[in-house]
């Protein structure tokens, strides 16, 4: 760690990891409700559980991105973060907001209150005061990182990262706009989170991957930046209009079916480019970085994102197919592997890379960390397969044969039991990961490679 203010990242990563634990536990309980439907139905209804599971995911991923930005921007810009105090204030606002959301969801304290109460739009239920707090925190963050970059060295990595981070903040503003017309409401509703994951988060992902590969492989910055530009161009070109695949059945004009189908079927390209990018950088590597676990997570991120977001997304993105599969367990399968592959793995990669630096600790405990990668990835892959099969059966019985929704759910019981088992494996893997990150060990199991620089070709 070259700059003192990179330490800020530690606080963000720590809170993110705590929420990660909450998220997977919430997911595990929700998976159990699928098997035993009346579990907790009075105390914490399923819709609240699901909301906690998805909202905590989004919040911890964002905290991870903020942490990654605070970690890599000083190194890239070659100067300290503009104001560490503001960075901690931003974190405090986000933590208070998150706590406020959880309390409001669980106890519904101020029903109907325009500022303090739940807002009632699915996934954007956060009370108004929390949304405004998020906007303030985002402004503080953007001021802080933008000033740091403007006064320091400007690199393609920081430029792309800033573009992505500004995009996150700008598209979040649509959560404050709640038109009366349900179709228009839904149209803007997809601007939050879904234009994130298909557009601006991909920029963050590409920038962070580029930073990690730069550090881990020692390939020339010039080469890495070319890939970065190409990936960013592909992401924006396909992702923005590709979001039209959410507009098929919400009352928007019919041309969205074609716009959405055509552009979103090309959304696999930036993810494929990221696979080519990360593997070719590793093949060309000019240094053996001792942190093998970070490299494993980086490569895993690119591959799992390609399958989860790219392939599983393409599977049901064409509107004649989506007409049948819309809102079935196929969507759940895609959602789980896409979020895990693209954004969870990315955060775990950057945290795996940064933690030893932040804690000033030589042994990385990386064998355990790599075990957690394989266990977590296997658990998520199995969960995805199970949900995909469940979705195919559900689509056929419910949408083709026209059987009643709940009758079909009864027939999917076996799949839900297998999903619960896969979820248990993921929870265990997360605990292993957290242990490997936070708990020091005495010696490193993997012999440190020769770090003498090899001559350039």
């Amino acid at each position: 760690m070259k700059y003192q203010t990179q330490k800020i990242a530690f606080a963000y990563f720590a809170v993110a990891m705590a929420l990660f634990a909450v998220q997977v536990l919430g997911g595990f309980i929700a998976a159990y409700v699928y098997v035993n439907p009346n579990f907790l139905s009075e105390l914490v209804p399923f819709n609240i559980l699901r909301m906690l599971h998805t909202n905590s995911l989004v919040v911890w991923l964002l905290l991870g991105f903020f942490g990654a930005a605070y970690y890599l921007i000083p190194e890239e810009a070659e100067r300290e973060i503009e104001s560490p105090m503001l960075a901690y204030l931003q974190l405090l606002i986000l933590v208070i907001g998150t706590a406020g959301v959880v309390v409001t969801y669980l106890f519904d304290l101020f029903p109907g209150n325009p500022v303090l109460g739940k807002e009632g739009r699915e996934f954007l239920e956060q009370p108004l005061w929390v949304k405004l707090g998020i906007v303030v925190a985002a402004l503080i963050f953007l001021y802080n990182v933008t000033m740091t970059v403007l006064k320091g060295r400007k690199t393609a990595i920081t430029n792309v990262l800033l573009l992505g981070l500004w995009g996150i903040a700008i598209f979040f503003l649509f959560s404050l706009y709640n038109p009366g017309n349900l179709s228009v409401d839904k149209m803007y509703w997809w601007y939050v989170v879904h234009i994130w994951v298909e557009g601006v988060w991909e920029l963050v992902m590409a920038a962070v991957l580029a930073f990690l590969l730069l550090k881990l492989t020692g390939v020339d910055r010039e080469v890495i930046e070319k890939w970065l530009y190409a990936i960013v161009a592909l992401s924006l070109f396909t992702g923005l209009l590709g979001t039209g695949h959410h507009y098929y059945w919400i009352g928007t004009p019919g041309y969205w079916q074609w716009v959405g189908s055509i552009f979103s079927s090309l959304e696999v390209l930036p993810f494929f480019a990221m696979v080519l990018f990360s593997f070719s950088m590793v093949w060309k590597r000019r240094r053996e970085h001792p942190n093998n676990a970070a490299l494993l997570w980086s490569l895993g991120c690119a591959v799992l994102a390609f399958f989860g977001a790219g392939v599983w997304g393409f599977m049901h993105t064409l509107h004649p197919i989506n007409f049948y599969t819309h809102g079935t367990q196929i969507t759940a399968a895609h959602g789980h592997l896409a979020f895990f592959g693209a954004y969870v793995s990315l955060n775990l990669a950057v945290i795996t890379y940064a933690m030893p630096h932040l804690l000033g600790r030589e042994p990385y405990n990386q064998v355990l960390n790599m075990v957690s990668f394989w266990v977590m990835a296997s658990g998520m892959a199995f969960m995805t397969f199970v949900l995909t099969f469940a979705g195919v059966v559900q689509t056929h019985l419910q949408r083709v044969q026209g059987e009643n929704y709940m009758d079909v759910q009864d027939q999917l019981g076996l799949f839900y039991e297998m999903r619960l088992a896969a979820g248990a494996v993921v929870v265990i893997a997360v605990l292993i990961y957290l242990y490997s990150i936070f708990v020091p060990r005495k010696g490193e199991l993997i012999k440190r490679p020769d770090t003498a620089p090899t001559p350039a070709e």
Binding site: M1, K2, Y3, Q4, E78, R79, E80, R153, K154, T155, A156, L214, K215, T217, G218, V219, D220, R221, E222, I224, E225, K226, Y229, A230, A233, L234, F237, T238, P253, G254, Y255, W258, V259, S261, I262, F263, S265, L266, L269, R286, R287, H289, P290, N291, P356, H357, G360, E362, R448, T451, P453, A456
Partner: protein, 219 residues
């Protein structure tokens, strides 16, 4: 820690940091960003103009290719409807527009030749003619849309016209963008810039040459 007064690039690249406890030792991968937009782009370096333009061109061809596949799929679902709807298109205006755009492409190619020979003024004149013909194309397109509108045909008339408006409209947006790009490279008229802008214009040209027979003519 903060280095406000940065030494020149050559010194900094040579300055290899001491090995740290965490393994980041050398900084060869950390040279200053300089010409990352030029230099070696692999196979894309062989092509005229900027490599990023070719990434865009390939993406555009994929999008229009997907649109033609969508058109074929929709047509196979209801060939009679598509044949009847196609008959109401103005093939003559389409054919004139094809001539206009191809001629425009010729002048764009002549502009590259002129700039390559150092005749920047002549190159700019040719770019002006190319862009002007682009405007003629748009005017004829507008006439065609007005005819359709007068006949009560719109976006939602049927799936043929949805795809007709999507593909021709999306192409027309590219013509507008192309005219802006030609104006830009006429202003900043280095050979690489002109080649880059004209490559985009030829793509707009090429897409029309594919679009016209698929949408207007093929039975």
């Amino acid at each position: 820690m903060q280095c406000q007064n940065q030494p020149p690039a050559a010194e900094r690249v040579g300055a290899v940091g001491a090995p740290s406890a965490t393994g980041d030792i050398d900084r060869r991968g950390d040279s200053l960003p300089g010409d990352s937009l030029s230099g070696d782009w692999g196979p894309l370096s062989q092509l005229p103009g900027h490599p990023m333009m070719w990434i865009l061109i390939v993406s555009e061809l994929l999008v229009f290719g997907a649109a033609f596949i969508a058109f074929a799929a929709a047509r196979s679902g209801d060939p009679a409807l598509f044949a009847a709807s196609q008959d109401s298109l103005d093939r003559l205006l389409g054919a004139i527009n094809t001539m206009v755009l191809l001629t425009s492409g010729l002048f764009a190619a002549l502009a590259v030749n002129a700039v390559a020979q150092g005749a920047t003024g002549r190159g700019r004149a040719f770019l002006g003619i190319a862009g002007g013909l682009g405007l003629v194309f748009l005017a004829i397109k507008a006439l065609e849309y007005a005819e359709k509108h007068a006949a009560g045909i719109g976006f939602d008339t049927n799936s043929f016209f949805t795809l007709y408006y999507l593909t021709t409209g999306f192409h027309a947006l590219h013509v507008i963008a192309g005219i802006a790009i030609l104006a830009l490279v006429a202003w900043r008229s280095s050979l690489e810039n002109v080649e880059t802008g004209v490559a985009f214009w030829h793509m707009v040209d090429l897409i029309w040459v594919l679009l016209f027979p698929v949408i207007y003519l093929m039975r």
